[in-house]
């Protein structure tokens, strides 16, 4: 016989203001099975929990209903409380009379009646609750980091230094990400490579880290603690085990006219290449789309003629060139994943008024970084792409692809104000005779030393800031005319410029949405990952065991990205510090007598928890892998033969709830 205790919480005045809690408690005493009812100001407080524990002992309760808030926050609290009193924690049910009642109603009488009805239903349910036991599963203490930018590097290093094995997957031939492309970093003007490359080297030499560049994640199966991941290792056509990175192949490669991705098209590279001198690994890949030898082999297969090259193969001192090398798929197991897939800059060719990306002297901030960098295509000389001349007047446009609903980017990209200020300062350092203009909407310089930096650029370096968006750029006599408005003075402005730099905003990295779908995590309309909670759980995704860092969840500067990476690393270390993971016992269960083996459940299960089992006599039926099942209930709804049931939410329990409400 169930002996049910009902406890009604006031939640201060959150519930008590609209619900007569004492009256509700009194009313529940008449419900079937209820032997005790009480109300209290704060049940979640230690005194409130004691009240429940004492009542269980005193009234020999074997079921408990806590009528209070949503179970989201305090279900664990009350389960623990009843467990301490010797009751199975799953014999406690919560009735939500706050979010579902007091907060959404104004009439005290109606709300009191509704609260009573809610509790009536839960009492009917709890009477049919069975004791459940949580299961434990093992976990693979290995981390997969997706993305080798500064966020991925930091996360990998932190977790590896804590003693766990890490695999870092990066889709380009080198790690380093966008930070490696930068010349200096704001507001300290640290040389970006000088602070980044030591980390890159540390990562490549770390005994706990396996580095996989030129590789992509193909599929992710499994669940927290036990992910099975397919990784595509793209063919490099170079055997990295024997290659010494001597540089002969990329120095001698005759195909020298490939636009360099690393230099954002400002420079050229060879077909066999390393993206930049400090690349990690410092060994080349052959870009098969442009390599003459690969193209020759492909043409031969088609029966066409194309000149043979094989220069690198002939000259390689270690015979590391391998034309037979194919893409390879590696399957590996991981306990956790950190997604640090970074960002791309906005493609400004959608702006006709800025020349559709076709004016050679209208470049992006990232392109300017490459021009200013000593290892860049111009060896650090800032020249106009059109004629190679030094510019005197340089105009910057902030918010290109940011704060612009028309191009689908209403958000602020956060870093552009600062990097533009940095550019204006650095240009002046490059050539004191350069005059810079910055057209801006607002200056957003929230960060340590950021505002001071922007002021310095205007006051000391004489950069002319003009508040207003530029409406039109057009070429005239080898120069560019920029038309805007000084909204402070309320007058139109026209600047004659030699070079225009667009502060293009941050967008989700190319392929971000595909990656999120592959992993199974939620993302927003822009392709940025949704955090589990934007304030309190900012580095967790809504999938257990998958974490995020850096621009994967929206625009961030370097310090923010690094902080997030370390935060995600701590979460992973916390997970890996356990030897077993406790799984929720509220999983599906198959009544194999009723199962007809249609396996509709297998089709609908998003977690691949349904397995096949052959009974004696040859009948094939479904079986649920409880450590994989998340208790979503899809299979229960799909099953036509009512063979499936969800523990803790059985059909019988739910029917009892509905019946209780209808009969009242």
């Amino acid at each position: 016989m169930p002996r049910i205790g009902v406890f009604v919480c006031h939640c201060g005045s959150n519930i008590a203001a609209t619900v007569d809690c004492a009256g509700v408690a009194e009313a529940t005493r008449g419900f079937p099975g209820v032997v005790h009812a009480a109300d209290f100001k704060y049940l979640c407080a230690e005194t409130g929990q004691n009240l429940i524990r004492d009542a269980i002992a005193e009234h020999r309760l074997n079921r408990v209903v806590v009528a209070s808030c949503s179970p989201r926050m305090h279900e664990p609290t009350f389960r623990k409380a009843v467990a301490q009193a010797g009751l199975n924690p799953y014999l406690m049910e919560m009735a939500n009379i706050r979010e579902h009642c007091s907060w959404v109603h104004a009439d005290r009488q109606v709300a009191t009646a509704k609260a009573t009805e809610i509790i009536r239903m839960v009492v009917a349910k709890v009477a049919r609750n069975e004791p459940l036991t949580a299961k434990q599963v093992g976990l693979t203490k290995r981390l997969l980091v997706i993305g080798g930018g500064i966020a991925g590097i930091q996360a990998a290093l932190d977790v590896a230094n804590a003693g766990y094995q890490v695999t870092l997957v990066e889709r380009t031939p080198t790690i380093g990400g966008k930070m490696a492309m930068l010349d200096k970093t704001f507001p300290t003007l640290d040389c970006s490579a000088c602070i980044l490359t030591p980390r890159m080297v540390e990562l490549s030499q770390h005994p706990n880290i396996e580095l996989r560049t030129y590789a992509e994640v193909l599929s992710v199966k499994g669940f927290v603690g036990n992910f099975e991941v397919e990784i595509l290792q793209k063919a490099r056509k170079v055997n990295h085990l024997t290659c010494t990175g001597c540089g002969t192949c990329w120095q001698k490669c005759p195909e020298k006219n490939v636009p360099s991705e690393f230099d954002v098209g400002m420079g050229r590279r060879t077909a066999s290449y390393i993206p930049f001198p400090q690349a990690v690994p410092n060994k080349p890949v052959s870009d098969t789309a442009n390599c003459r030898s690969v193209r020759h082999l492909a043409a031969k297969e088609r029966g066409e003629k194309l000149m043979e090259c094989r220069v690198c193969e002939k000259l390689c001192p270690t015979k590391s060139i391998d034309w037979e090398q194919k893409d390879e798929i590696i399957v590996d197991r991981f306990g956790a994943i950190i997604v640090a897939n970074g960002y791309d800059t906005f493609d400004h060719s959608v702006y006709g008024e800025y020349g559709y990306g076709k004016y050679p002297d209208v470049i992006t901030g990232l392109q300017l970084e490459r021009l200013m960098n000593a290892s860049g295509p111009t060896k650090g000389e800032v020249v106009r792409p059109s004629d190679g001349k030094h510019p005197h007047s340089v105009v910057f446009l902030a918010c290109v692809g940011s704060r612009d609903d028309k191009v689908g980017r209403p958000y602020c990209s956060k870093i552009c104000c600062m990097y533009t200020a940095k550019h204006a300062l650095m240009l002046k350092e490059h050539d004191p005779n350069i005059q810079t203009y910055v057209f801006y909407l607002d200056i957003r310089a929230a960060g340590r030393g950021y505002e001071e930096f922007v002021r310095r650029v205007q006051e000391e370096y004489g950069s002319t800031y003009i508040r207003g968006r530029v409406s039109w750029i057009y070429p005239q006599d080898g120069k560019l005319i920029i038309k805007g408005e000084d909204t402070l003075l309320g007058r139109p402005v026209e600047v004659e410029a030699d070079l225009v730099v667009l502060a293009t905003g941050i967008t989700a990295a190319s392929g971000a949405v595909d990656l999120m779908q592959t992993i199974g995590i939620s993302y927003d309309t822009y392709g940025f990952i949704n955090e589990m909670h934007p304030k309190l759980r900012p580095v967790e995704t809504n999938t257990d065991g998958v974490y995020l860092a850096g621009c994967a969840s929206g625009p961030k500067d370097i310090p923010d990205s690094v902080s997030q990476a370390s935060a995600a690393a701590v979460k992973v270390c916390g997970l890996f510090s356990q030897d077993y993971l406790t799984t929720d016992p509220m999983t599906s269960v198959v009544d194999q007598m009723k199962c007809v083996g249609c396996f509709l459940c297998e089709e609908v299960c998003p977690f691949r928890a349904v397995e096949r089992e052959t009974l004696r006599g040859g009948k094939v039926v479904a079986r649920i892998n409880e450590s994989v099942c998340k208790g979503c209930g899809l299979c229960v709804a799909a099953c036509r033969g009512e063979a499936l049931n969800l523990k803790g939410f059985t059909d019988q329990q739910l029917l009892a709830q509905v019946t209780a409400l209808l009969r009242a």
Binding site: S393, G462, T464, L488, L489, V493
Partner: protein, 207 residues
């Protein structure tokens, strides 16, 4: 509205107007970040064609015509409200003063002629008598401002009640006053020519 044009060789970040104000006042107008607090508190900004922060903005952009032809620089009464409140500590009244004096030096016709007339008459009387001669100020100002009968209804009552003295009073040591004006003229000349005109002022002159 006239377009503000910048050629590719221009250097608005180091324009002559900025340098001029800096030399005359020591103020760095680039420090102004255009929050508008000065204009919001200015008792006269509603009467000005450019609000005070816009005067600074025009200086930042080297817009000489805009600045020197504005009424704002003449309407400012240097009440110091703006400076007291300025978060960037730009001494705007000092800048306004410098702009007025520069406009006079360059013989630019002031947008508010009568303000200049008032200053001229006032200082002329102080130079002559060592202190203000009110009847002279009223008469001189009204004549030069071409409004001889302005406020005439107030003149007689003020005279009969002894508020105005017909005979000007003079300070005792008019030599010192003259020395001050002489030195001021020399400084002004120095500023224009860039050369030192006179030796150090006599010790008796209060600095």
């Amino acid at each position: 509205m006239s377009v503000l044009k910048f050629a590719s060789t221009d250097q608005p970040g180091r324009n002559g107007l900025l340098a001029l104000v800096k030399a005359k006042t020591g103020q760095d107008v680039l420090a102004c970040y255009q929050c508008g607090k000065c204009s919001a508190g200015c008792p006269l900004s509603s009467a000005m064609d450019l609000a005070p922060h816009q005067v600074l903005r025009a200086v930042q952009l080297g817009q000489r015509d805009l600045v020197f032809q504005s009424s704002a620089i003449w309407l400012c009464v240097t009440c110091q409200t703006c400076y007291t409140r300025c978060p960037q500590e730009v001494d705007l009244p000092k800048v306004m003063d410098a702009l007025r004096s520069q406009a006079i030096q360059e013989k630019i016709r002031p947008a508010e002629r009568t303000v200049k007339v008032f200053h001229d008459v006032f200082l002329g009387l102080v130079e002559r008598f060592g202190r203000l001669y009110e009847v002279g100020l009223i008469g001189g100002y009204n004549l030069l401002a071409r409004q001889p009968l302005a406020s005439a209804d107030l003149g007689l009552p003020m005279l009969t009640r002894g508020k105005l003295e017909l005979i000007p009073r003079r300070v005792k040591d008019r030599e010192q006053i003259r020395a001050i004006f002489k030195r001021a003229a020399e400084l002004e000349l120095e500023e224009i020519t860039g050369q030192s005109v006179a030796a150090a002022p006599p010790a008796s002159v209060p600095s």
